[in-house]
Structures are given as C-alpha cells and as structure tokens.
Symmetry: C2
Subunit: 466 residues, 2 copies
Amino acid sequence: MNDTRDPNAPDSMSEGVETGVISPGFIAQFIGAVGDGDKPYLWRTVKGLHPADTADLLEHLPPEAFRKAIHLLGKDLPAEAVAELSDNMRLEALHELTDAAVTAMIGHLDSDDASFLLSDLEEDRRVRILSKVSATDRAAIESSLSFDDESAGRLMQRAFVAAPVFWSVGQAIDHMRSVSDDDLPDTFFEIYIVDPAFRLQGSVPVSRLLRYSRETPLKDIMKDVPVEVRPEMDQEEVAYIFRQYNLASAPVVDEAGRLTGMITIDDVVDVIQEEAEEDILALSGVSEAGVNQSLFSAVRARIPWLLVNLLTAFVASSVVSLFAHVINEVVALAFLMPVVAGLSGNAGSQALAVSVRAIAERDLEGPLVRRAIRREALTAMINGTIIAWSAALIVLLWFHNPTISIVIGLSMMITFTWAGLVGILAPLTLKRFGADPAVASSVFVLTTIDMASFFVFLGLASLMLL
Amino acid sequence: MNDTRDPNAPDSMSEGVETGVISPGFIAQFIGAVGDGDKPYLWRTVKGLHPADTADLLEHLPPEAFRKAIHLLGKDLPAEAVAELSDNMRLEALHELTDAAVTAMIGHLDSDDASFLLSDLEEDRRVRILSKVSATDRAAIESSLSFDDESAGRLMQRAFVAAPVFWSVGQAIDHMRSVSDDDLPDTFFEIYIVDPAFRLQGSVPVSRLLRYSRETPLKDIMKDVPVEVRPEMDQEEVAYIFRQYNLASAPVVDEAGRLTGMITIDDVVDVIQEEAEEDILALSGVSEAGVNQSLFSAVRARIPWLLVNLLTAFVASSVVSLFAHVINEVVALAFLMPVVAGLSGNAGSQALAVSVRAIAERDLEGPLVRRAIRREALTAMINGTIIAWSAALIVLLWFHNPTISIVIGLSMMITFTWAGLVGILAPLTLKRFGADPAVASSVFVLTTIDMASFFVFLGLASLMLL
C-alpha cells in the first residue's frame, strides 16, 4: 500500500494522550485521510486509540470532515467512542450512521449507555432499531427509557452479578467463570447477595471475595449496603450518596427491595461534573454550553437572562430617575452611583456563590443554616465597613466634600449588609420552594442590590446634600 | 442503665441518612448526651453510623459541644470519620485529641489518608506521632508527605496488589488469600502486573481475574494501562485522566516505570468536586469557603477581590467624570449608563463562565480555540443587537428622544461585542501565561467592560447630543 502517513499513528500520539491533547499534526493527518477517503488509515487509527481519545479526535474535526469521517467509519466506529461524544456531535453522528450501524453499536454497549444513545433518536427510528436488537437487550433498554431523564433508573445498567445468600465463595467464582462474557458487565467491583425472592441482602466487594477460601459462605463476608438507591431517585441524590460513602458502585432496588440494576462510579463522575458545571453556568445566566455548541443554541442559551436583565436594569434606572433633581444639583453623584452598585453587587455575588455551593454540598441544612446566615450577615457588615470607609476616604480626597464622603460611606455599609443577606436568603428560599437555587438567584439578588444601592445612595444624598 | 435516649439511635436515623440529612431531633439528642458526658451513648451511636455520617453529625454540633464530643470519644472516634471532617473542624478535632489517639488512628488508615491527617499538624507534633507508628507506615507516610500538596503523590496510597508477570490466575488468588489484611488495601479494583525490576507491565481488573480459570497466565489477560500517572502530576491532571478513561483506580509509576502506588476513584471524586467549586467561587472573587468557616476566614477570603474592585470601580467612575458636562446637559444619561454597563457586564460574565468551564474541561485546545472565539464574538454580536435595540425602543418610549435612543442602541452593540471577546480572550490569555483562568479573569473582564461601557455610551452621547 502506498501510504505516506505515519503507519503507527496511535503510538505517535502517546505524548499527546499523556497531556490529554490530541496533537494538531495528528489531527491534520487525520483530516487529510478523511479527505482522501482513506478508510484503512481511519480504521487503523481508531482501532489503536482509546474510545475516549477517538471521541476527542472526532470533536476536533471541522463539521464537514466530522460527517465524512463518521460516514467512512460506519460500523467500524466503536460504540463507546460515539457514547463519549459531546451532545451535539453525538446527535449528528447518529444522524450520519445507518440503522444497521446503530443497531450493531447498541449490541456492544451496557444497557445504560445503549439507552443513552437511543434516547437521542426520533421516536420512529428508535422503534425501528429496537425491533432489531435481541429481546433481552430490548427489554433492558425499554425499561431504562421508561425512567425519567436524570434519574437513577437511567444511570443504572441491567447487567450485574447476583449470588444467592446460601452460596459459598467458590460457587460464586465458579458461576462467574462459567457464564458467557455477554451476561456479565464489562467491569464490576462487587457482587450482590440476594434471597430467593431476589431481595437484596448485602454486597461483597470483588477484592474481598478473592481473599477468602472457597468454602466461606457469602453471607459471612457480605456487608450491608449503606443506603438504598431507588430507580426514581434523582441523579444528584445518587451522586451525593456515592461521594458521601466513597462508593465505586451501588445496587439499585425497587420498592419491594428487589435488585434491579447497578450504578457504577464512571457514570456518577459525569453527573458530579455536570451538576457543578450547571451551577457555574447558572450563576452567570447561561442555560447550557459546550464545545461545538452551535451559534444558534449559544444565543438561545444566553438571551433569556439578558432579556430579564434588560427589564430589571430599567427598573433600577427608574429608581435613579426619581432622583434626577439631586443629580442635576450634584453631578458627582452620577460618577459615584456605579461604585456603590458595583461593589455591593460583587459582595452579593460572593455570598451567592458561597451559598449555592454550600447548598449543592448539602452543607446548608438543619442547625447549620442559622449559623451560615449569621456568618454571611457579619461578613458583609465587616467587609462593608472596610470598603465603605475606604471609598469614603477616596471620595473625600477626590471631591473635598465631607458630606458626599459620608453619604457614600453610610450607603455602602447599608447596601453591603443587604447584599450579604439577600445573597444567602434568596437561594435558601428558592430551594425551600423546590426551585434550583443557582438559576433564579442571580437575577433576583443582583436586581434588588442595584435598586437598593441607587435608592439608598441617592436618597441619602438628597437628604444630606439638598 | 437509666437511659431515656433512643437505645437504637442509628436505626432511627435511616430516614435521615436516606435524604443525606441527620435529623434535628437526633442532633439534639446527641448534644444532650455530650452535655451529660454520656460516653456509652456517644460510643454506641458512633459505632452504629457510617464514618461519613458520623462526620456529618459532628459538623452539625455547636463549637463547644463539638470539642467536648471529640474529647469524650477520644480514641473511640473512627479515624475515617476524622478524615471526612471539613478542613477547619478536622484541625480542631486533631487539636482536641491526644497524641496516643492520633497515633492509633494513623495506624488504621491507608497511607494517603494518614498523610492527609498528619499534614495538618504542626511540625513537632507530626514528628512525635510519626516516631510512634510502625516503621512501614512511617516510611509510606513520609514518602507521601515529600510530594507537593495537590499532586498525584499525595493522592496515592502505598498499599496495592502487584503480581509477577509469570504468575497464573490461581497463584495471584492464592497470594491474596494468604497475606494478612493489613498488607492489602481496604478495597481494590485491579491488580498490577510487574516485571522482576517492579516495572509496570499491565493491569488485570479483579472482576476479570475472577472469570478465568486458575491456570490462565496473568500476562494473557492483562490490559495496557491507558496513561501513565506519575507522582509529580497535578491532581487536576489525574482527575482528567480518570474521567477521560472512566477509571476506578490507576497505578502510579516513577520515572523508571516502577510501580510506586495506587490512586482510587474516591479520592479523585473529591478532587473533581473541589476543582469545580474552586471555579465557582473564583469567578465570584471568593478564595475559599466552607461549612463552619470562621468569620475571620470568611472576611479574609472575600476582602481582597473587593479591595481590587474598589480601585477599579473608581477608575471606571473617573471615566464617567470625564463626561460631567454631558450629564449636566442631559441628566437622563445618568439613569441609562448603569443599564449599558450592567447588561454588557452580564454578557461578559456569561462568556467568561462558558470559557472557564470549557478550559477546565479541556475543550478549549488546538483548533477548537479559534472556533470558540468566533462563536463567542458572533453570539455577543447577535445578543448585543437584540438587547441593544430593545433597550433603544424602551428609551424611545420613555424619553421620546430618538437621538438618546440611537446612542444607547449603538453603544450597547459595541460594548456587547467587546464583552464577548474579552470574556473568552482574558481566561485564554491567563491560561497561556500559566495563571488560573478563573481567579483573575473576573476583575479584568468586568473592569474593562465597565470602562468601555461608560466611555462608549457617554462619548457617543457627547458627540451626538451636544
């Protein structure tokens, strides 16, 4: 074969993989091969890469090359690589692939990943593909899809290892040696012990199973499961349990206590990452983001908050307009009012970020709430005092007007305290009413701080200066 | 014993544990027992709880009761519970415990957790305690402490299972059955295959080991390790590798490729959580936060950003002062200038949050950078156009002055585009110079947007209105 490309592409990448970056040269080479329709090169490259790296490589391609690469690879594209693609690109890849290719991929995946892929498809295509997979896979996938998005039921896989409570270590090991690979999960960290009605009795970590002699009864070495995970449970709750109890996997049981699935840490790690990201974005008023997000969806993810903010900004500016006569009298107030509003707004953002984080960490519960509110109020008052009188000093040096200096000092002390209180009370209140504390808090917190700043500062000015 | 307290406390908590909350009644009961010095009750309660729940319970106590509880429990306090406490409370607990109690705890922990606890102590106390633990433990802990904070070397534990490459499955299992529990890690998910010089050759997941017959040579079933983790590696890099390759554990090798330790997912989950939280807080100008953070440290964590912001706010307000004559002429400009600055600032925060998140996710690398910058610029221009002319319409309806309306429309289009560009370019530039993109970006982005807003809006106004 007359191939001028590096015959050992994956190896040439080892350096790239180490730093988590696919090298630009490697990407360029791959794009060249896609352009030439060089299937054997694409196939060899993908075969030599970890599926996660294949997904990274594909995400770095320009849209046209991406579609062509998916098309050329077809059913040779590893199912795991497709599952690792970012949302938009996964949708596009599935769109590009034939039904036969998608069906083959579904067969290779654990049921949680399979239903994850299928949930992206239009109803009729999903039905068509499901009709072609094996009956067992179909049942597992359909039951998974019957649970809500972001529930434990969606995260869990149907393949797990269960052993009757009366078995010994040896019987469990012999069982695992005898069943076919297809009937076992790819990797698992514990086996579950069940009674004859398949009710969960306990679990034995695989590393524990190995340490005991073949005759040891499983029930002598099994451990209690610290918390029950139910399929309806929200994925955020699942993530909390995994973190709290340092779990690598957890059984999922139905309302009768029967074992129905298993959740593994890799899926939970993605949830933890997603939830943290959602909070970061929500605090800045962005509903979603991602590499390769389309322009349209980037605009759509950000415009709602800006539109709300447009209204609140004019409400705040109407507060300023109430004091037009004061500003006409003392134009310096116009220079200073953004200082008051801006600094108080930042103090509010600080309190908000701390509170949203603490709520997500479940650190704001029970008796800790009152302590946290007191701390926020005091912190705001102390910082407010320091900043307010520093600002007052700067103003005094600038305008040589002690009254304006006192006005800015007093008003900042008040607005800082307000900022600290609203920064913790707004998310706590939203949470109490079942809303996401991160999403709506920013609007409310920043708007009320702006209004309070303008009102207090200009109001005090009109009382003391006119 | 005349004990009116719920004799079965931990069970009564099962509901509390399920929702991750230790019930207020249970806490009150525990506080009562602490007050009475009822050691047996405390001891029974702690024994019945998962260490993570014990840590939660202790964190919910008022400071006085916390210290007394630690004192009463002494060496009966599980080492794992102390390791799970938040930073401040762990320090306080260690302060309250005797050297003998801490020494006993160290002996119960894996080396990563043991060095984690010891790293909190003052030098001389650490030396004193280390001199009392076993020589093996001491060597492991000292070597761990020799690595930087936040490095792979600190995350890794010294206990792992290694097998020579020429062993069979049966030999590996027999080895694990014969060694004492103390020489094996509490839980492990894979065993490592080494050559005679202890250089890492591959790994065999424990669940894979179980599926093969006793005669199978390990080298036939071992897998390549996807990426080498070195002890000097930053923990953020380690977290990235775990997420990218869906790992539950990873071997750590030295520069000669020799196996030196193992990192497990539970430690990495904490890192992922911490790093995401650091970004949330940093974007709002908070350097650290936590449940039970002291007032002093809360003030100290927030005042630096406010002080910097104090200066930048006055710089921005001096821009406004350049246009005092325009504001004197048209006081409406004073109402509107916070609208321009506020909305553009929010557009900048959106771009910043998206970029900081993408950088943390390693989505902003190679050819994706140019695409992302183009998308941010276009998104800002589109949103800027929509918001700018909506604002212009509101202004027209409010002031019936088409010129002011055009001034606000034009200036917002310009400042939104600026906000979008600086929101992505600032963190990218900081990252290129090796700084944390989240920390310093906010200051720079918001200050330049404020200044640009005031300058463009008031400048255009002075050109078009005077």
